[in-house]
Amino acid sequence: MIQVKNISKSFSGVEILNDISFVFEKGKTNLIIGKSGSGKSVLTKCIVGLLEPDIGDVYYDDIKFSSLKSQDKKKVRKQIGMLFQGSALFDSLSVEENVAFPLRMFTKMTEEEIIERVNFCLKRVNILNKNSLYPSEISGGMQKRVAIARAISMKPKYLFCDEPNSGLDPVTAIVIDELIQELTKEYQMTTIVITHDMNSVLEIGENILFIDGGVKKWEGNKEEILDVKVKELYDFVYVSRFLQKMKK
């Protein structure tokens, strides 16, 4: 479980996040949704510690992450897997080396054990016989899956996915969404997905936080979101004519 309490963050006097509190539950796919520029990515960066919140605290289970020293934060971070919007695979490393990177850096596993784990993770995300290829030699969807394999290679307790299906076709996007949900259940992780894709929201949104203009406007789940009364969220959900017709 990850909990944020009263998080606020400003840049050069411009308020990006204002007093956000939320509980991201274990074993569920928790979604942070909102329009572009609403503060989703800033909130995520505050949670993982890439940014320091001006006010407020972040808890990983019972650990008050925001007040830990740098070295202690690193211990928590080793339990975090993160899938970035652009995959963020290391260009100079092959698929196999990318997935093996955290294992080589943080574990005392033998080379055979590392390769075995890498192959297991790649097989789990349906990437077969691509070990020696470089990120530039595989498709965007494959890059996302390799990034997921890297994220789960250390069996993390917490998984963050920043717009996991941006730039992907609808079929591949659903494959990625389903994969994230399956892995969340399988490893009983606390998964946080940042998205503005309504397909993802309706597919995997078990616990949803809606942010607008840096303020928390709504929380609920995928069943409740279709009957929402909050104007900002209503406009966000029913922006497409298809959903408007469905609603009518």
């Binding site: 963020a88 290391f90 850096m105 943080f106």
Partner: protein, 246 residues
């Protein structure tokens, strides 16, 4: 200015944090030795050979006199190559080649969130990315410069052989003459090289690592890295020369 200096010092400070795993950092160091040093050998040997060749022709033409012995050309080439051309000019060339490479590599990693990925994993990204580059340059650049000295003399020798502007024996005699000061000159050249290696890699890493923006800024960072590395090399060259040769 003070803020930039503070960030630069912060970067250097974080470089010396204990590595997460020594073997991974060692491999990075070896990769950087190849990337920064070994892959520069071709351009360095080409530049040095042509510099030596041109210097021989210019010097021989300038001091053509019955009163000046031919070996003076070889001696002049030795002094010029050891004291200035190899350590400074080749370092300026490396600032262009290696500096832009480092800044664009780290800048691209910043833009594509690869540096954020390292930080989220709990890796000291400065120590992992910048540290091996600086250490590798401090190790390999002096070797590259000695290699450059050899090719500089060799290029000069080839010109003497093919054009007979002065006899090859006289050229070699000039290079070997007054050799009691050679150790001092080489020590001076290598000291300069080590300082220049640090300037090139640290300034270029700074511009790449702290890049903000997109592809356009990667280009700007690359240019800034080369420009500022070159300026600081010229300043350091003057200061070191005054300190060590006067």
């Amino acid at each position: 200015m003070i803020r930039n200096l503070g960030k630069y010092m912060y970067m250097l400070y974080h470089m010396f944090f204990k590595p997460e795993k020594f073997s991974v950092y060692w491999r990075r160091f070896l990769d950087e030795v190849v990337q920064l040093g070994v892959k520069s050998l071709f351009i360095v040997s080409l530049m040095s050979a042509f510099m030596g060749a041109v210097l021989v022709i210019q010097t021989a033409t300038a001091i053509e006199s019955a009163w000046i012995p031919d070996y003076t050309v070889g001696f002049t080439i030795k002094q010029s190559m050891l004291l200035e051309f190899c350590p400074t000019i080749i370092s300026l060339i490396l600032a262009g080649k290696v500096g832009s490479n480092i800044a664009s590599e780290l800048g691209t990693m910043r833009v594509t969130e690869q540096i954020d990925a390292l930080e989220v994993m709990g890796v000291n990204s400065i120590g992992y990315l910048v540290g091996p580059k600086i250490l590798a340059a401090l190790f390999i650049f002096p070797i590259v410069i000695m290699y450059s000295m050899f090719f500089g003399f060799f290029g000069g020798g080839l010109v003497c052989y093919f054009t007979e502007i002065i006899p090859v024996k006289q050229y070699i005699l000039g290079i070997r003459s007054f050799s009691e000061d050679n150790f001092v000159f080489i020590r001076y050249a290598l000291t300069k090289t080590i300082v220049f290696a640090f300037i090139i890699t640290s300034i270029s890493s700074y511009y790449g690592y702290y890049l903000k923006g997109g592809a356009l800024e990667v280009g700007k960072a690359s240019t800034n890295a080369v420009v500022y590395s070159s300026i600081f090399i010229l300043f350091a060259n003057y200061i070191l020369t005054q300190l060590m040769l006067i």
